[in-house]
Symmetry: C2
Subunit: 134 residues, 2 copies
DNA sequence: ACTAAAAAGACATTATAAGTCTTTTTTATG
DNA sequence: CATAAAAAAGACTTATAATGTCTTTTTAGT
Protein backbone atom coordinates (compact mmCIF):
# COMPACT_ATOMS: atom_id res chain seq x y z
CA UNK A 1 0.00 0.00 0.00
CA UNK A 2 0.96 3.62 -0.59
CA UNK A 3 3.64 2.66 -3.04
CA UNK A 4 5.56 5.03 -5.23
CA UNK A 5 5.30 4.04 -8.89
CA UNK A 6 8.30 3.37 -11.08
CA UNK A 7 7.70 6.67 -12.73
CA UNK A 8 8.12 8.39 -9.40
CA UNK A 9 11.19 6.38 -8.51
CA UNK A 10 12.76 7.07 -11.89
CA UNK A 11 11.93 10.75 -11.63
CA UNK A 12 13.77 11.03 -8.35
CA UNK A 13 16.77 9.08 -9.56
CA UNK A 14 17.02 11.22 -12.67
CA UNK A 15 16.78 14.61 -11.06
CA UNK A 16 19.02 13.65 -8.13
CA UNK A 17 21.65 12.63 -10.63
CA UNK A 18 21.27 15.94 -12.39
CA UNK A 19 21.65 17.72 -9.06
CA UNK A 20 24.90 15.88 -8.46
CA UNK A 21 26.49 17.29 -11.61
CA UNK A 22 28.41 20.57 -11.80
CA UNK A 23 25.79 23.37 -11.77
CA UNK A 24 26.01 24.76 -15.28
CA UNK A 25 26.77 21.51 -17.05
CA UNK A 26 24.15 20.59 -19.65
CA UNK A 27 23.36 16.87 -19.43
CA UNK A 28 22.08 14.67 -22.18
CA UNK A 29 18.93 12.75 -21.39
CA UNK A 30 20.56 9.63 -22.75
CA UNK A 31 23.46 10.04 -20.34
CA UNK A 32 21.18 10.55 -17.36
CA UNK A 33 19.09 7.55 -18.32
CA UNK A 34 22.16 5.38 -18.63
CA UNK A 35 23.59 6.59 -15.33
CA UNK A 36 20.46 5.90 -13.31
CA UNK A 37 19.39 2.82 -15.24
CA UNK A 38 16.04 3.95 -16.58
CA UNK A 39 14.54 3.41 -20.05
CA UNK A 40 15.49 6.58 -21.96
CA UNK A 41 12.12 7.03 -23.64
CA UNK A 42 10.36 6.77 -20.33
CA UNK A 43 12.72 9.21 -18.64
CA UNK A 44 12.12 11.59 -21.53
CA UNK A 45 8.45 11.78 -20.65
CA UNK A 46 9.30 12.44 -17.04
CA UNK A 47 11.72 15.22 -17.83
CA UNK A 48 9.18 16.82 -20.12
CA UNK A 49 6.91 17.11 -17.09
CA UNK A 50 9.75 18.57 -15.05
CA UNK A 51 10.47 21.06 -17.78
CA UNK A 52 6.89 22.29 -17.99
CA UNK A 53 6.83 23.35 -14.37
CA UNK A 54 10.37 24.69 -14.36
CA UNK A 55 12.01 22.05 -12.19
CA UNK A 56 14.54 21.59 -14.98
CA UNK A 57 15.50 23.75 -17.91
CA UNK A 58 15.84 22.13 -21.28
CA UNK A 59 17.84 23.12 -24.33
CA UNK A 60 16.89 21.66 -27.68
CA UNK A 61 19.00 20.97 -30.69
CA UNK A 62 22.70 20.32 -30.99
CA UNK A 63 24.49 20.77 -27.71
CA UNK A 64 21.18 20.66 -25.92
CA UNK A 65 20.16 18.77 -22.82
CA UNK A 66 19.02 19.50 -19.28
CA UNK A 67 20.08 21.52 -16.28
CA UNK A 68 18.31 22.09 -12.98
CA UNK A 69 15.75 24.87 -12.99
CA UNK A 70 16.87 26.07 -9.58
CA UNK A 71 19.75 25.45 -7.23
CA UNK A 72 19.46 22.03 -5.62
CA UNK A 73 18.96 23.50 -2.15
CA UNK A 74 15.72 25.06 -3.35
CA UNK A 75 14.11 21.95 -4.83
CA UNK A 76 12.43 19.58 -2.41
CA UNK A 77 11.65 15.93 -2.77
CA UNK A 78 7.98 16.81 -2.34
CA UNK A 79 8.03 18.94 -5.48
CA UNK A 80 9.70 16.22 -7.47
CA UNK A 81 7.29 13.54 -6.35
CA UNK A 82 4.19 15.66 -6.80
CA UNK A 83 5.38 16.76 -10.24
CA UNK A 84 5.01 13.26 -11.59
CA UNK A 85 2.68 11.50 -9.16
CA UNK A 86 0.27 14.29 -8.41
CA UNK A 87 -0.65 15.48 -4.93
CA UNK A 88 -0.12 13.28 -1.90
CA UNK A 89 -3.57 11.88 -1.21
CA UNK A 90 -3.76 8.97 1.24
CA UNK A 91 -7.50 8.85 0.59
CA UNK A 92 -10.00 10.47 -1.75
CA UNK A 93 -11.58 12.52 0.96
CA UNK A 94 -8.49 14.67 1.46
CA UNK A 95 -8.47 15.91 -2.12
CA UNK A 96 -11.13 18.48 -1.43
CA UNK A 97 -14.07 19.18 0.87
CA UNK A 98 -17.12 17.18 -0.11
CA UNK A 99 -15.38 14.44 -2.07
CA UNK A 100 -16.98 12.01 0.33
CA UNK A 101 -20.50 12.73 1.59
CA UNK A 102 -19.55 11.30 4.98
CA UNK A 103 -16.54 13.47 5.61
CA UNK A 104 -18.09 15.84 8.14
CA UNK A 105 -19.22 13.11 10.53
CA UNK A 106 -16.46 10.59 9.78
CA UNK A 107 -13.87 9.87 12.46
CA UNK A 108 -11.45 8.35 9.98
CA UNK A 109 -11.22 11.43 7.84
CA UNK A 110 -8.97 13.41 10.21
CA UNK A 111 -6.55 10.50 10.30
CA UNK A 112 -5.98 10.75 6.57
CA UNK A 113 -5.56 14.48 6.84
CA UNK A 114 -2.90 13.82 9.44
CA UNK A 115 -1.15 11.21 7.29
CA UNK A 116 -1.13 13.57 4.34
CA UNK A 117 0.34 16.35 6.44
CA UNK A 118 3.09 14.19 7.93
CA UNK A 119 4.16 12.72 4.61
CA UNK A 120 4.21 16.11 2.96
CA UNK A 121 6.26 17.49 5.81
CA UNK A 122 8.84 14.77 5.56
CA UNK A 123 9.24 15.03 1.80
CA UNK A 124 9.27 18.80 1.95
CA UNK A 125 12.13 18.80 4.42
CA UNK A 126 14.44 16.98 2.03
CA UNK A 127 16.22 18.98 -0.66
CA UNK A 128 17.98 17.75 -3.75
CA UNK A 129 21.17 19.13 -2.28
CA UNK A 130 20.91 16.70 0.62
CA UNK A 131 20.09 13.84 -1.71
CA UNK A 132 22.88 14.56 -4.16
CA UNK A 133 25.73 14.71 -1.70
CA UNK A 134 27.77 11.58 -1.39
CA UNK B 1 -0.11 9.31 -5.03
CA UNK B 2 -0.17 7.01 -2.02
CA UNK B 3 -3.88 6.44 -2.33
CA UNK B 4 -5.89 3.93 -0.38
CA UNK B 5 -7.86 1.65 -2.70
CA UNK B 6 -11.61 1.23 -2.52
CA UNK B 7 -11.04 -2.13 -0.98
CA UNK B 8 -9.17 -0.48 1.87
CA UNK B 9 -11.76 2.22 2.27
CA UNK B 10 -14.59 -0.32 2.27
CA UNK B 11 -12.73 -2.51 4.73
CA UNK B 12 -12.46 0.34 7.20
CA UNK B 13 -16.05 1.39 6.80
CA UNK B 14 -17.25 -2.15 7.30
CA UNK B 15 -15.26 -3.00 10.38
CA UNK B 16 -15.84 0.41 11.98
CA UNK B 17 -19.54 -0.15 11.56
CA UNK B 18 -19.21 -3.55 13.18
CA UNK B 19 -17.30 -1.96 16.05
CA UNK B 20 -20.14 0.49 16.58
CA UNK B 21 -22.64 -2.29 17.20
CA UNK B 22 -23.37 -3.85 20.61
CA UNK B 23 -20.46 -6.19 21.39
CA UNK B 24 -22.02 -9.62 21.14
CA UNK B 25 -24.46 -8.84 18.37
CA UNK B 26 -23.95 -10.99 15.30
CA UNK B 27 -24.26 -8.85 12.15
CA UNK B 28 -25.25 -10.03 8.73
CA UNK B 29 -22.84 -9.17 5.97
CA UNK B 30 -25.74 -7.92 3.89
CA UNK B 31 -26.73 -5.54 6.66
CA UNK B 32 -23.22 -4.19 7.06
CA UNK B 33 -22.87 -3.73 3.32
CA UNK B 34 -26.13 -1.84 3.15
CA UNK B 35 -25.25 0.34 6.11
CA UNK B 36 -21.87 1.44 4.78
CA UNK B 37 -22.86 1.48 1.12
CA UNK B 38 -20.51 -1.14 -0.29
CA UNK B 39 -21.25 -3.89 -2.84
CA UNK B 40 -22.11 -6.93 -0.69
CA UNK B 41 -20.12 -9.41 -2.74
CA UNK B 42 -17.06 -7.24 -2.54
CA UNK B 43 -17.40 -6.72 1.18
CA UNK B 44 -17.74 -10.49 1.54
CA UNK B 45 -14.25 -10.95 0.14
CA UNK B 46 -12.91 -8.33 2.49
CA UNK B 47 -14.49 -9.92 5.55
CA UNK B 48 -13.15 -13.29 4.53
CA UNK B 49 -9.67 -11.78 4.79
CA UNK B 50 -10.50 -10.30 8.16
CA UNK B 51 -11.79 -13.64 9.33
CA UNK B 52 -8.64 -15.52 8.34
CA UNK B 53 -6.45 -13.40 10.56
CA UNK B 54 -8.94 -13.19 13.37
CA UNK B 55 -9.90 -9.56 13.09
CA UNK B 56 -13.48 -10.70 12.95
CA UNK B 57 -15.17 -13.94 13.94
CA UNK B 58 -17.64 -15.46 11.52
CA UNK B 59 -20.54 -17.81 12.11
CA UNK B 60 -21.91 -19.77 9.21
CA UNK B 61 -25.37 -21.06 8.56
CA UNK B 62 -28.69 -19.88 9.85
CA UNK B 63 -28.33 -17.12 12.45
CA UNK B 64 -24.76 -16.63 11.34
CA UNK B 65 -22.89 -13.44 10.63
CA UNK B 66 -19.93 -11.51 11.97
CA UNK B 67 -18.68 -10.12 15.24
CA UNK B 68 -15.38 -8.42 16.07
CA UNK B 69 -12.53 -10.78 16.84
CA UNK B 70 -11.33 -8.59 19.70
CA UNK B 71 -12.63 -5.65 21.65
CA UNK B 72 -12.53 -2.48 19.54
CA UNK B 73 -9.93 -0.85 21.77
CA UNK B 74 -7.49 -3.58 20.81
CA UNK B 75 -7.82 -3.33 17.04
CA UNK B 76 -5.89 -0.56 15.34
CA UNK B 77 -6.47 1.09 12.01
CA UNK B 78 -3.04 -0.13 10.97
CA UNK B 79 -4.08 -3.75 11.36
CA UNK B 80 -7.24 -3.19 9.38
CA UNK B 81 -5.47 -1.44 6.54
CA UNK B 82 -2.59 -3.90 6.35
CA UNK B 83 -5.01 -6.81 6.45
CA UNK B 84 -6.42 -5.91 3.07
CA UNK B 85 -3.77 -3.67 1.49
CA UNK B 86 -0.65 -5.42 2.64
CA UNK B 87 2.22 -3.74 4.45
CA UNK B 88 2.74 0.01 4.27
CA UNK B 89 5.48 0.39 1.69
CA UNK B 90 6.09 3.88 0.34
CA UNK B 91 8.75 2.42 -1.93
CA UNK B 92 9.98 -1.01 -2.94
CA UNK B 93 13.25 -0.63 -1.12
CA UNK B 94 11.63 -0.62 2.32
CA UNK B 95 10.09 -4.07 1.85
CA UNK B 96 13.31 -5.78 2.70
CA UNK B 97 17.09 -5.28 2.62
CA UNK B 98 18.48 -5.74 -0.86
CA UNK B 99 15.30 -5.12 -2.82
CA UNK B 100 17.16 -2.32 -4.54
CA UNK B 101 20.85 -2.79 -5.30
CA UNK B 102 21.45 0.89 -4.57
CA UNK B 103 19.95 0.94 -1.10
CA UNK B 104 23.17 1.03 0.89
CA UNK B 105 24.54 4.13 -0.82
CA UNK B 106 21.23 5.82 -1.59
CA UNK B 107 20.32 9.01 0.24
CA UNK B 108 16.66 8.71 -0.63
CA UNK B 109 16.22 5.33 0.98
CA UNK B 110 16.18 6.61 4.58
CA UNK B 111 13.46 9.08 3.64
CA UNK B 112 11.14 6.26 2.66
CA UNK B 113 11.99 4.39 5.82
CA UNK B 114 11.00 7.51 7.71
CA UNK B 115 7.74 7.90 5.80
CA UNK B 116 6.86 4.28 6.42
CA UNK B 117 7.55 4.66 10.13
CA UNK B 118 5.49 7.81 10.49
CA UNK B 119 2.49 6.47 8.63
CA UNK B 120 2.55 3.23 10.59
CA UNK B 121 2.76 5.17 13.82
CA UNK B 122 -0.23 7.30 12.98
CA UNK B 123 -2.41 4.42 11.90
CA UNK B 124 -1.31 2.32 14.83
CA UNK B 125 -2.33 4.99 17.30
CA UNK B 126 -5.94 4.90 16.17
CA UNK B 127 -8.22 2.19 17.54
CA UNK B 128 -11.60 1.05 16.30
CA UNK B 129 -13.01 2.25 19.57
CA UNK B 130 -12.00 5.80 18.74
CA UNK B 131 -13.34 5.49 15.24
CA UNK B 132 -16.65 3.96 16.24
CA UNK B 133 -17.64 6.54 18.82
CA UNK B 134 -20.07 9.15 17.62
C1' DA C 1 -34.71 -32.27 4.90
C1' DC C 2 -34.75 -27.48 4.38
C1' DT C 3 -33.10 -23.05 4.66
C1' DA C 4 -29.94 -19.36 5.90
C1' DA C 5 -25.64 -17.81 5.86
C1' DA C 6 -20.54 -17.49 5.03
C1' DA C 7 -16.42 -19.54 2.19
C1' DA C 8 -14.23 -20.44 -1.92
C1' DG C 9 -13.01 -20.01 -6.48
C1' DA C 10 -13.55 -18.78 -11.17
C1' DC C 11 -14.65 -15.19 -14.08
C1' DA C 12 -15.30 -10.32 -16.26
C1' DT C 13 -14.45 -5.58 -16.80
C1' DT C 14 -12.12 -1.39 -16.32
C1' DA C 15 -8.35 1.56 -15.01
C1' DT C 16 -3.68 2.47 -14.32
C1' DA C 17 1.15 1.61 -14.92
C1' DA C 18 4.90 1.07 -17.75
C1' DG C 19 6.99 1.55 -21.74
C1' DT C 20 7.66 2.04 -27.09
C1' DC C 21 7.58 4.21 -31.61
C1' DT C 22 7.10 7.80 -34.86
C1' DT C 23 6.95 12.44 -36.16
C1' DT C 24 7.79 17.27 -35.29
C1' DT C 25 10.23 21.25 -33.65
C1' DT C 26 14.30 23.62 -32.33
C1' DT C 27 19.11 24.95 -32.58
C1' DA C 28 24.16 24.85 -33.20
C1' DT C 29 27.63 24.41 -36.65
C1' DG C 30 30.37 23.50 -40.85
C1' DC D 1 21.78 27.00 -46.02
C1' DA D 2 22.07 22.02 -45.28
C1' DT D 3 22.80 18.85 -41.88
C1' DA D 4 22.78 16.65 -37.73
C1' DA D 5 21.78 16.58 -32.84
C1' DA D 6 18.71 16.90 -29.44
C1' DA D 7 14.26 17.58 -26.93
C1' DA D 8 8.90 17.80 -27.47
C1' DA D 9 4.72 15.81 -28.65
C1' DG D 10 1.51 12.42 -29.52
C1' DA D 11 -0.15 7.91 -30.70
C1' DC D 12 0.23 3.44 -29.59
C1' DT D 13 1.15 -1.29 -26.88
C1' DT D 14 1.32 -4.35 -23.30
C1' DA D 15 1.19 -5.78 -18.56
C1' DT D 16 -0.61 -5.45 -14.13
C1' DA D 17 -3.76 -4.19 -10.65
C1' DA D 18 -8.28 -2.61 -9.15
C1' DT D 19 -13.04 -3.49 -8.83
C1' DG D 20 -16.24 -6.11 -9.02
C1' DT D 21 -19.71 -10.39 -10.25
C1' DC D 22 -21.35 -15.21 -10.45
C1' DT D 23 -21.60 -19.89 -9.20
C1' DT D 24 -20.80 -23.62 -6.27
C1' DT D 25 -19.62 -25.46 -1.80
C1' DT D 26 -19.58 -25.86 3.09
C1' DT D 27 -21.60 -25.17 7.58
C1' DA D 28 -25.12 -24.83 10.93
C1' DG D 29 -29.71 -23.98 12.96
C1' DT D 30 -34.84 -25.33 12.83
S1 LIG E 1 -12.41 8.11 5.58
FE1 LIG E 1 -14.46 8.88 6.03
S2 LIG E 1 -14.56 10.82 4.91
FE2 LIG E 1 -12.82 9.71 4.09
S3 LIG E 1 -13.63 8.58 2.34
FE3 LIG E 1 -13.77 7.18 4.08
S4 LIG E 1 -15.84 7.53 4.89
FE4 LIG E 1 -15.39 9.25 3.53
S1 LIG F 1 15.10 5.24 -3.06
FE1 LIG F 1 17.22 4.55 -3.36
S2 LIG F 1 17.26 2.54 -2.39
FE2 LIG F 1 15.10 3.06 -2.66
S3 LIG F 1 14.53 2.15 -4.64
FE3 LIG F 1 15.17 4.27 -5.08
S4 LIG F 1 17.35 4.07 -5.56
FE4 LIG F 1 16.78 2.18 -4.56
Amino acid sequence: MMELTRKGEYAIRGIVFLASRPPEQVCLLSDIAAAVDVPPTFLAKIFQQFSKIGLVKSYRGTGGGFVLGRTPDRITLLEVVEAVEGPITPNRCVIKEGECPRDTSCNVHPVWVDVQQQVRDILNSVTLQKLAQR
